[in-house]
């Protein structure tokens, strides 16, 4: 059996807020099938999946996690002396008069 756990289970709060959505029938069917396949109540499944996604999106705004091996390479590259980027130099020259500090 596929394994999926409720990502909200550790949050020690009473379920006091009600959320209701209208859903396209085929989407609703797919959600119901997936919830059944992991033996989970449909509403718990929906909230858990949405919560996981919410956390991931919020996290992605503030951090990027990369593979350890690539991280070492990445660290080396950004610690080298800066290179003049022709395109950036030109963009700066071209846009100089467009924005004035107020």
């Amino acid at each position: 059996m596929l394994h999926y756990t409720d990502s909200t289970a550790k949050t020690q709060e009473r379920k006091s807020v009600r959320k209701e959505q209208r859903v396209k029938p085929s989407i609703s069917d797919a959600i119901a099938r997936a919830a059944m396949s992991v033996g989970m109540d449909e509403s718990v499944f929906i909230v858990s999946a949405a919560y996981e996604k919410a956390i991931a999106i919020e996290k992605s705004q503030f951090s990027t996690s990369i593979d350890s091996e690539y991280f070492q390479q990445f660290s080396k590259v950004i610690n080298t002396q800066g290179k003049r980027i022709k395109g950036l130099v030109e963009a700066e020259q071209k846009s100089r008069d467009i924005l004035r500090d107020a």
Binding site: S60, Q61, S63, T64, F71, S75, I85, L88
Partner: protein, 191 residues
């Protein structure tokens, strides 16, 4: 919201002249702003004030008039970010925990009335300059952004080309396939 919008037309028209300033909820009118991509419009209209209030982002806006109420013609938002290495499941291997401080270009967009006139590029350059300034005060090594994916492959390719021209490179991460970075060191010597 972590996207940047690019104009769909080439920059041919005479460049405009706008003022750039820190976003001020009381002064900068957002109701008419439309960049052609609704999630970004919504972000400016509904979320940005809250994110600023919570000290999560800072935002700059381009306006025609700096002294009175003026509609937003373009904007960008930045927030603090970090690049970290994914934890390995092998517990016997010691991993030095490191984070690379970064600045995240959260959103950048131009109102339709100003698209194709170089305002997007100017905002981008301004955002990079601001990031360099911040890096001198708090220490920061890279600027990070996500390339907008809106279903138009041709425009997506143009966006990637544009960022590459400015020196951005892809971050190799399966979690963020469209995330790019520019080193502050490169930005410093270029602008």
């Amino acid at each position: 919201m972590i996207f940047c919008v690019m104009p769909k037309t080439q920059e041919k028209v005479k460049p405009p002249s706008l003022f750039i300033m820190k976003f001020n909820k009381a002064l900068h009118v957002r109701s008419a702003f439309s960049c052609g991509f609704k999630p970004i419009d919504n972000f400016l209209k509904s979320s940005i004030s809250e994110q600023i209030k919570n000290n999560l982002v800072t935002a700059w806006v381009a306006v025609e008039d700096s002294s009175s109420k003026s509609p937003v013609k373009g904007f960008y938002a930045l927030n603090a970010h970090s690049i970290s290495q994914a934890e390995l499941p092998n517990l016997t291997k010691k991993i030095t925990k490191e984070n690379i401080p970064a600045i995240y270009l959260n959103a950048l967009a131009v109102d339709k009335s100003y698209q194709g006139r170089g305002v997007g590029t100017a905002l981008m350059v301004h955002a990079i300059k601001k990031s360099v300034e911040f890096s001198e005060q708090i220490g920061c090594a890279v600027i990070v952004l996500d390339v907008l994916v809106d279903g138009d492959d041709e425009v997506f390719t143009r966006r990637v080309d544009f960022y590459q021209t400015l020196g951005f490179k892809n971050i190799k991460s399966s979690d963020y396939p469209h995330r790019m970075h520019l080193s502050i060191a490169d930005a410093k010597v270029s602008i």
